[in-house]
């Protein structure tokens, strides 16, 4: 059964690829922004973990709440 799922995933890769690409770009953008800001709300390492391990929601939460100074 598992091999069937793997087969289906490889077969539908062009359809599913954008989903993965978007999440990777979001994560990368959040990490780049994180290295450039001096101060964040809460410890930086916590944001790194959130951005990497909580997909989509992690980077979005960082962009909305993470930076203490907007500019």
């Amino acid at each position: 059964m598992m091999s069937g799922v793997v087969h289906m995933l490889t077969e539908n890769l062009p359809v599913l690829l954008p989903l993965v690409v978007i999440q990777i770009i979001l994560m990368a953008a959040a990490l780049i922004s994180l290295t450039r800001t001096k101060e964040t709300r809460g410890p930086k390492w916590m944001w790194v973990l959130l951005i990497i391990f909580v997909n989509t929601l992690g980077p979005v939460a960082y962009f909305i709440f993470g930076r203490s100074e907007e500019r």
């Binding site: 359809v15 954008p18 953008a29 909305i64 907007e70």
Partner: protein, 258 residues
């Protein structure tokens, strides 16, 4: 002239804090997630353990227009939340940090300050929604079947009015309160009240902005713009202008007080 300067300043700020990257991406994600999960539902059920032995579960494939409407529904919940979160601090934050005073000391009218901010936020959000809905249309076309492209463009057009209206609510609330949290609360609360009142008096309020997305469904199915939708968008546009005007008044008053 000064209007364009503020507009450009807003634009630059949104570029610097990555809004031009993450908002479009997140909107695309919101829009394509439902067509994809609906299409792959049988596979997802299989992969997560499958149905119990002997259970017969016939899953009907929803019509293409319904799948496209799922993206609209997604934007109406998560998209609106992102909109409110994104704009909650746009004036109130500047009031708090003193940037607003810095700008308004110069010969800048309150009206251009508010409307330029509104226009900049609306541009970003409308473009993001347009990209997202186009992606959704592409997926629906690929996985489910035909939805006429002109109807989809119509949906995007009318939905833009809705977004501009939502942004104006948020900016109006921004003019009222210094606290971003309160702005968020009042924006979402007023939306809830509006949809509640609209559903309570649905016979009298046929042209309420809250009904805009329900008319979009008939636009998608029939391919023609229903008459009610035209009136609804007129009301929506009028309310947007009214909110911006009232917001300007309030902003003037509050700065005279402080």
């Amino acid at each position: 002239m000064q209007w364009i300067t503020i507009y450009k300043k807003e634009w630059l700020e949104m570029l610097r804090n990555y809004k031009w990257i993450w908002v479009p991406l997140v909107f695309v994600l919101f829009c394509i997630i439902d067509p994809l999960t609906t299409y792959y539902l049988p596979v997802i059920i299989e992969a997560t353990g499958g149905l119990p032995e002997g259970a017969v579960f016939d899953m009907p494939t929803p019509p293409p227009s319904e799948v496209f409407m799922m993206s609209i529904a997604q934007l109406n919940t998560l998209g609106v939340l992102v909109l409110a979160l994104m704009t909650m601090g746009t004036i109130s934050g500047e009031k708090k940090s003193g940037v607003a005073e810095l700008i308004l000391v110069k010969p800048v009218s309150y009206f251009s300050y508010l409307t330029a901010k509104w226009a900049a936020a609306s541009t970003l959000l409308i473009l993001s929604a347009a990209i997202g809905l186009t992606a959704s249309w592409y997926y629906v076309q690929l996985l489910f079947g035909d939805v006429s492209f002109s109807a989809a463009v119509g949906v995007i057009f009318f939905y833009s009015l809705w977004i501009a209206f939502l942004t104006s609510i948020s900016l109006f609330m921004n003019a009222w309160s210094r606290l971003p949290g309160l702005v968020l609360f009042f924006t979402l609360a007023s939306l809830m009240i509006m949809s509640l009142v609209t559903s309570l008096f649905s016979n009298d309020l046929a042209w309420s902005p809250a009904r805009l997305s329900s008319y979009l469904r008939s636009l998608l199915i029939t391919g023609e713009v229903p008459v009610d939708l035209w009136y609804t968008s007129l009301v929506t546009a009028a309310l947007t202008i009214l909110l911006l005007y009232a917001g300007t008044k309030r902003l003037k008053k509050s700065s005279r007080l402080s």
